[in-house]
């Protein structure tokens, strides 16, 4: 790659970026993975906020994570706690909230904290991909 791009190589294939999906429901992680992999993203999964923190702090993920998609209502470290942690410790990783509960006050508060998007399930694949693409742009702008 001649210019900076947050994409990297996985298994010899070019990848649009690495996305961490944090949701306690394996089914949700499965469909988000399915949608984003088809769009050329590498997808990591975590079942709650605590696992997400563990994942991002392990190996090269700290450097290579581009976008995080996070649910709110989860066991152990919930979404709000995880988002606060990530905003403080990884301010350059854009965050997308994907939640089952539309809460205007919470959405406003999270968007003020710098969350890129507040998506309410069920969200169409195209909308999810557009949101991740927007987050990727933010990620790239942050590196300029």
């Amino acid at each position: 790659m001649s210019e900076f791009k947050s994409g990297f190589f996985v298994g010899g294939e070019s990848c649009n970026g690495r996305v961490l999906v944090v949701d306690d429901e394996p089914d949700i992680r499965k469909v988000v993975r399915m949608t984003l992999q088809k769009a050329g993203y590498d997808v990591l999964e975590a079942e709650n906020g605590a696992k997400a923190i563990e994942t991002i702090n392990s190996g090269e993920n700290r450097l290579l994570l581009d976008v995080m998609i996070c649910d709110i209502r989860m066991p152990k470290v919930n979404g709000i706690e995880a988002i606060t942690y990530f905003r403080e410790n990884y301010p350059r990783v854009p965050l997308i909230v994907l939640t089952g509960f539309p809460d205007t006050d919470m959405a406003t508060s999270l968007l003020r904290q710098g969350v890129v998007d507040y998506l309410v399930k069920p969200v169409e694949g195209e909308k999810l991909k557009a949101s991740v693409a927007r987050a990727m742009e933010q990620r790239e702008l942050a590196h300029l």
């Binding site: 306690d24 429901e25 089914d27 949700i28 499965k30 469909v31 988000v32 399915m34 949608t35 088809k38 209502r73 989860m74 066991p75 152990k76 939640t99 089952g100 509960f101 539309p102 809460d103 309410v120 399930k121 069920p122 969200v123 169409e124 694949g125």
Partner: protein, 380 residues
């Protein structure tokens, strides 16, 4: 979590034991300061039974007995359940020593002359139109109580929104994602697997609707029946998780098999949902919730315990008052425990609370043990 007190294992009243320092105990029945009014009820039809149901809840009234010539009168069955003496001859009942009041709800005009002759001097008689008015008031009160219970239940369902949205939208996300994928999926095995996943997700969604519509309906007016307590507690847990997040709560079940009580299943479910919701809210989403059932010294006991913030001793006597709440405005009606008390009283039971600030609370429901459990069909 506090241990099952030795006093309760031996059948002694928990309130008679001196409270340990720092532990508050509450009981909903105040000790009456005056001698109770001694009342006899003549007529065990619908009117007599309604009167019995209301009067037996008032601690300052002692029902000395109920009389009816018809041994199959519904009020007589209820009287047996409430341990109220039953008579087939009016004369035997009204000759009771120290009787203050005779309430004639037979609607039989000839009864007036009988009572005039038989009732001892100093005993008042309520009959005729006065008695009818009293029955109407009792019926009215009963309707209000049912409406209040339903209104409070519906108000509580408002707090289910987050839980319902979470549980409905997750399977919907799976269905949408899989359907989008199926539009261009070429692998036939994958198509079959994903179609099956969609069917399962739809089933989960419909189960949520079924649970909630069943819970939100008005309590059925069916006759009281035997209810399997363990199954009802499990059902309540399923409903309560819409109102409160249970993910970080450790749930301990200590069920004695086949424990049953007699009552209205819809109302008992509401009682359990309320107690579990309160317990989880007291823990601020972290701690242990313990559900226990046991037959102890001739009584059936159900305990709901939490390891939450506890209730200050000065508030313990007030928590069963109507409209008393410590929750922020808009978060609680203040009618939950009041309604629980009413339902439990109707079931001839009692409720006690033991609490320690910073350690947690335990609500103990005690009902007379029905020795016929196992012989008759029990509603799960």
């Amino acid at each position: 979590m506090m241990d099952w007190p030795a006093a309760q294992r031996t059948g002694a009243a928990a309130t008679s034991a001196p409270a340990e320092p720092g532990i508050g105990r509450g009981r909903i029945e105040p000790v009456p300061a005056l001698l109770p009014m001694r009342v006899a009820i003549i007529g065990a039809g619908r009117g007599g039974m309604a009167l019995l149901d209301v009067l037996h809840q008032i601690r300052t009234i002692k029902i000395v007995g109920i009389a009816d010539r018809d041994p199959s009168a519904p009020g007589l069955t209820r009287a047996h359940e409430l341990n109220v003496p039953v008579y087939d001859r009016v004369a035997d009942l009204i000759n009771h020593q120290g009787l203050n009041l005779v309430m004639d709800v037979t609607g039989d005009p000839t009864m007036e002359s009988v009572l005039r002759k038989e009732v001892p001097a100093g005993t008042d008689v309520v009959n005729g139109q006065t008695s009818r008015l009293l029955w109407l008031l009792v019926q009215h009160e009963s309707i209000l109580q049912t409406e209040l219970l339903h209104a409070e239940k519906l108000a509580g369902i408002g707090s289910f929104a987050a839980g319902i949205a979470h549980d409905m939208n997750n399977p919907l996300q799976l269905i949408l994602g899989l359907a989008e994928n199926l539009a261009d999926e070429t692998d036939l095995d994958a198509v079959h697997t994903q179609a099956r996943d969609i069917i399962e997700a739809v089933k989960r969604t419909t189960a949520i609707c079924r649970d909630l519509t069943s819970y939100s309906r008005r309590a059925s007016l069916q006759q009281d029946c035997l209810i399997g307590v363990n199954g009802k507690l499990d059902e309540a847990l399923k409903i309560a998780r819409y109102a409160v997040a249970l993910q970080d709560i450790e749930i301990r079940k200590r069920y004695q098999p086949d424990v049953a009580v007699k009552g209205n299943p819809d109302e008992l479910l509401h009682v359990f949902v309320n107690l579990i919701t309160n317990a989880v809210q007291a823990m601020e989403h972290e701690g242990a919730l313990t559900l226990e059932t046991a037959v102890v010294a001739g009584t059936t006991q159900i305990r709901v315990s939490d390891t939450g913030c506890g209730i200050p001793p000065e508030l313990l006597d007030r928590i069963f008052e109507p409209f008393f709440t410590t929750k922020p405005p808009g978060k609680g009606t203040g009618l939950g425990l009041y309604n629980i008390k009413s339902v439990i009283h109707h079931m001839n039971g009692t409720i006690e609370v033991e609490s320690q600030v910073g350690r947690g609370s335990t609500f103990t429901l005690t009902f007379p043990h029905d020795s016929s459990v196992g012989e008759r069909s029990v509603q799960p």
